[in-house]
Symmetry: C2
Subunit: 595 residues, 2 copies
């Protein structure tokens, strides 16, 4: 392959696009790989499409090697299968919905569990047909509330989604491990560092799920790791429930005047001054903070709920949302509070909440962090401005409607499995695997006859890789200030030949070099633009990110060309006669670095 820049459909930009917050977005647009068509919706230009094809090829090869068979489903699908599993409703405003000319309801599919289930039901009927794993590489849609970061959170994007079908739990476990191993090979081949973390199954359902995250400070996901090997998405971290405490020695709760103490800090200062504790000072951890949120169900139904956490921790809205899926969770607004005059802003306490209220059936639901076990003793609001209650004991003086994983996870927290203190990091989710179990097969009636002629509900797994997001993650992992810097096996070309100056002999030599490399199977991007300065050409080469740059210029007079890697290593002068052999060998070496 030989692409000449004089005719290649590309234009580089010197300025960052106004809407680009992250490097991959900024550089993919500036280097002319992608172009925004609408919020979260992108057009692929020739260079971008080449990288995308290479990423897709790696994913496809490993899927086939793992025994998965490729199919292809439509993106435009009728409502009915998604209604049968409840997801038509659960997705709420997150999917694109439309009607056809006959007023039938359709959606643009965000994922295809239902359709794969129905297809297997359509074709297969016996245990002998299983195990089976199918996959597709296909365009998916999500009507994201906040599309952002270019390809990282888009509304139209490419996914590889695979689905396994097994007769029993052991089969599902094997299929899950098989896909998990394929994912490890894929990300290793792509040159993408990854961490496998426990995850929430969320709206997808199922018994077990793990995410593949590529660590990067710009990632939307926060995950934790312990020295002992625990790793989880922060939303999936479970808080070890402490044992209940004996409350027999705790004095009765007493309400006190605490003027001007609507914040935790002001409260702690006040109680230390007015009600000092003999053994130690009060801290924020002694207070019970009650936060008012609104749950918005996919149906649009809105419910005000109060969440109680120890005062030294924030409520993590993403953790709450994961815990209460498919509802979306917002901080309560003025209207929510106005509808509940019993909630005294800044001084909310358990007495008016959930089972503690005088009319529990109509009271706001009260969900508590698992740390607030029976016997723990709290300073909290007394439901009147300027008043707090002290020595309020969980289990004795108040209870909750239920528990919720709501409190922020902090570095240094103990891992749930006791494997040591957690550290926190951020990452981009590049893959997600689910042991779905029988949820979809049950809802859609996918059964096969077992050895005894008995109908058995099939058990399924679902395995996704965001292909376009992986490309963005690669750009995040492989770039510098000057531009992109692709690993050779996903780069749009292997070698970028730059002819500088005006000497026709230079252009002839460069053309010959490019042609001969092409004949050797090396993919060449050749900057043959006649009236462009060397500075612009070098800047473009850095922006494009092809791994090897060969400059044919002034040195040609001495029979030399310059060969330099896009990143690392140093440039070398190579005799022009040896350049084809030398560069071919370098390319071969770069490509051999990964399978």
């Amino acid at each position: 392959m030989l692409l000449r820049l004089s005719s290649l459909f590309v234009r580089t930009l010197r300025e960052d696009p106004a809407d680009a917050e992250v490097a991959s977005h900024r550089l993919l647009v500036r280097a002319g790989y992608i172009r925004r068509a609408a919020p979260g919706i992108y057009t692929w230009l020739p260079l971008g499409l080449r990288v995308l094809a290479k990423v897709e090829a790696v994913v496809r090869e490993e899927m086939v090697a793992a025994g998965a068979q490729e199919v292809h489903f439509p993106a435009l699908l009728p409502k009915e299968p998604y209604e049968a599993t409840g997801r038509w409703t659960e997705y709420g405003p997150n999917i694109f919905r439309l009607k056809d000319r006959k007023d039938a309801d359709y959606l643009l599919a965000p994922t295809h569990e239902e359709l794969f289930t129905l297809l297997v039901k359509d074709l297969y009927s016996s245990y002998k047909d299983l195990p089976l794993t199918l996959f597709q590489i296909q365009t998916k849609y999500r009507d994201e509330a906040r599309p952002r970061a270019g390809l990282i959170r888009g509304r139209e994007f490419i996914m590889k989604d695979a689905y396994s079908f097994d007769l029993d739990d052991a089969g599902l476990a094997a299929a899950y491990e098989n896909q998990r191993a394929a994912y490890q090979r894929i990300f290793t081949r792509l040159g993408l560092e990854y961490v496998i973390v426990s995850a929430m199954s969320g709206a997808m359902g199922g018994s077990r799920s793990e995410e593949f995250l590529t660590p990067t400070p710009i990632g939307e996901d926060t995950f934790v790791r312990s020295p002992g090997g625990y790793a989880a998405n922060v939303e999936a971290v479970t808080t070890p429930v402490p044992p209940a405490l004996d409350w027999s020695h705790v004095p009765a709760a007493h309400v006190e005047d605490t003027p001007d103490s609507p914040t935790i800090d002001s409260l702690v200062e006040l109680v230390n001054a007015r009600f000092p504790r003999p053994d130690r000072a009060w801290t924020a951890a002694d207070t019970l903070k009650n936060v008012v949120v609104a749950l918005v169900q996919p149906t649009g139904e809105r419910e005000v709920v109060v969440i109680g956490v120890p005062g030294d921790r924030e409520v993590d809205m993403k953790r709450v949302e994961a815990a209460l899926a498919p509802a979306e969770v917002e901080i309560a607004g003025e209207a929510d509070l106005a509808a509940h005059p019993e909630l005294a802003r800044g001084y909310i306490g358990p007495a008016v909440l959930g089972p503690n209220a005088t009319d529990p059936e109509h009271a706001v639901r009260y969900l508590l962090d698992p740390r607030i076990v029976a016997g723990t003793r709290w300073i909290t609001g007394a439901n009147a401005p300027g008043r707090h209650v002290l020595d309020l004991v969980a289990g004795r003086d108040f209870t909750a409607t239920g528990a919720v994983e709501a409190a922020q996870v902090r570095a240094g927290d103990e891992a749930p499995d006791g494997s040591g203190p957690l550290e926190l990091a951020r990452g981009i989710e590049i893959g997600h695997i689910f042991a779905l179990g029988r949820k979809y097969a049950q809802a859609l009636g996918l059964t096969v006859l077992d050895q005894n002629g008995k109908a058995q509900v099939v058990t399924m797994g679902s395995y996704g890789i965001g292909v376009t997001r992986v490309l963005a993650a690669l750009a995040e992992a492989h770039h510098d200030e000057a531009g992109l810097a692709w690993p050779a096996h996903v780069a749009p070309a292997h070698v970028h030949v730059v002819a500088t100056g005006k000497d026709p002999a230079v252009f002839e030599a460069a053309e010959r070099l490019a042609t001969e490399l092409d004949a050797r199977g090396v993919e060449v991007l050749y900057d043959d633009r006649p009236k462009v300065s060397p500075g612009v050409k070098f800047a473009d080469a850095e922006l494009f990110g092809v791994p090897l740059v060969v400059v044919v210029g002034r040195g040609l007079a001495e029979g030399l060309v310059e060969v330099r890697p896009r990143v690392g290593g140093s440039s070398e002068q190579v005799p022009v006669a040896a350049a084809v052999d030398h560069v071919s060998a370098l390319v071969k070496g770069l490509l051999a670095e990964r399978g």
Copy 2:
């Protein structure tokens, strides 16, 4: 490639699907290539996907060879660009429309002229950047009123669409010819017979357009050919306008009682009996038939119009629709007629129509076939039941609001270019090329600076191939009663190895043969199913349509396997030791038949 039928995700059907009218639809479903997901929306199974990939590869290779550069646009697009060209409205109910969560209007694109225009505008600004041809292979959507014939008229389908950009008319002409030639190579390589016919540009606009049709009786398009080389879609046939006639000798028009003559036949019989013509009998060609139709504009606006044609020809609704695009045309209904009491059913005449009416501004528009030139003399309705007018002369006694190509084209009609009598045939449209001119560039402001620094509006062409439809057309062209019969270069595999019986030695030999062919680069489908009868295996082989079938069975005892082509040729017994060489050579020969 070696696919084993024991694990391949496929099931063949012995029965035709209920909704399948044509062979390609019937056989692609029965052979397990595709599966219906919704009306006009299909899922691709592994065998179908393999054929699709091969068809796509041929299209892509020839596009690249023709100098076109590949890009990829989203399917989900905002309304605005389509509003700027008027197509948001013109497409009426034929496109899928939706709103996102912010209530912004989107569509699922049926074609991408607007977006390509805007992309080139975004990147390019100088005449030096041109000529340019871009293409994509991408999923498109049309909300067809009547999706039919499986992949032939679907609602979600794959298109190759290319767009050329030139500074001047000569450039556009060259780009058009270049794509035209590429299309000829594509269809030749695919083994698809084609005819290039003049076509209507329709809603697309532009100065010139041609369709590539593959002749088949099940085609939706009718086209004409003359011995002298004229060829056109029947909708694009123009009627040579005869010269005006001298009417000085024609007597004045006279209204006559013609009871019970609401049809042309009854009218001709009656006038021959009551008003015989001295020189010859009256025929249907002497009558002027006025047909009431309703135009439905994309906005939904409905208008009753009367179309006049010689009584010996039917009104061809598809020709009318093409002539009056983007309106859709229907035969007028009861409500339409009730709204126009002046239209006396069966006896409608010019006097109440268009400019001939007493209140022309509010009269129904009257459109006439081009044959009805000044001086022609007609028997037609007198706008009262049982009354006709004779000797009514066009130009003297009545005129029209306008002309319309409405009359049916018949075999034997003279070609518009005088190249002889037309013959009619049917075909499937597999490609359509348009010299668009400046319509889109003008509407969206795509200009470049010319050599003199002056802004020039770019001129464009647009070139489409229905990739999924081409696959169906291939199935139409290559099948028999027993199943599909693919040309080797698009078949899902080159060789279908069938192991018959129960002898383990047979299965071992077949496995070895399949593996060795695979090692030689031959694509093998291997029927290794252990408990399936030879009859079922042979029937499946015929249904799948792989070009060479190799049977390993009883003959193995004598050291022989049977090699037979799926169609034509005869079977031969080949020594098993020579089979790999022999079959590889046959495959090479089949593949060499086309580029």
